[in-house]
């Protein structure tokens, strides 16, 4: 059990524990905050995987924007202060069974591939991942087209969300 395996297991415990609390807790505000904990765990995981830029972008985009959006939506759509009653549907055991089946299938597939048991290749020295990422996003023989399409998607989502949320002003 080397040090980074221990760190990985702690991080995985944080992520999975927070995710379980997100989908099972009764109060919706607590679910949103457990999601924040899970997203933070994923950011730590990205940092362990030496994708530092992605870790920080995860915090900025997911925790700083998406989670705050969720919290606002929860606060703006509540009828009662406390969430009463059962929060999951009455036939919740079917999704649980389905989730376990899918998990079992995926684990079986992963363990069946011997190549997936490998450890990481060495990070090539002298490679500045941040600069390479920036170049890859805007260089024409790399990924400038998905980048531009993503920005159009974001523009469409921005206009759409503003229009839907402001409602009809006659």
């Amino acid at each position: 059990m080397t040090a980074d395996q221990i760190i990985f297991l702690l991080c995985a415990a944080l992520i999975l524990g927070s995710a379980l609390m997100t989908v099972t807790t009764r109060k919706l505000i607590h679910a949103a905050l457990w999601l924040v904990a899970a997203l933070f765990g994923v950011a730590i995981l990205f940092a362990i995987l030496q994708a530092g830029f992605l870790a920080v972008v995860q915090v900025v985009v997911y925790i700083g924007a998406i989670a705050i959006l969720f919290i606002f939506a929860v606060m703006l759509t509540r009828r009662v202060v406390l969430d009463k009653g059962q929060q999951t549907r009455s036939n919740w055991w079917i999704p649980a069974l389905l989730g376990l089946l899918i998990l079992g299938g995926l684990v079986f597939l992963i363990l069946g591939q011997p190549d997936f048991g490998r450890t990481a290749v060495e990070m090539p020295t002298g490679v500045d991942t941040l600069r390479n990422l920036g170049t890859a996003l805007v260089s024409p023989d790399a990924f400038v087209l998905p980048f531009e399409v993503a920005s159009i998607l974001l523009l469409a989502a921005l206009v759409g969300a503003v229009y839907i949320a402001t409602g009809n002003k006659e």
Binding site: Q58, T88, P95, L103, I164
Partner: protein
Amino acid sequence: MSTPLSWYLILAAALFSIGLFGVLSRKNAIAILLGVELMLNAVNINLVAFWRYLDPAKMTGQVFAIIVFAVAAAEVAVGLALIISVYRSRKTVVADEIDLMKW
């Protein structure tokens, strides 16, 4: 980096199934979106783990993960705007009660 790649993939699979359980079993529409977010994060973990473990010199994995960030943000924004708009007219966010197209 002595953790095997399969550990990351199993973690992502577990996170995905927990998200799936959340989507299919919760009544509140916002809680369903929380499950969708968990699934998108599982996908991101997979992408970045493969990027790091196979070929860190090529940027494909990270670029894909960034596009997933953008798509997730756009989807959450529009989804929550829709839910708030439905709440305004129907006064409910329970998914079962939003079952009439026009009233």
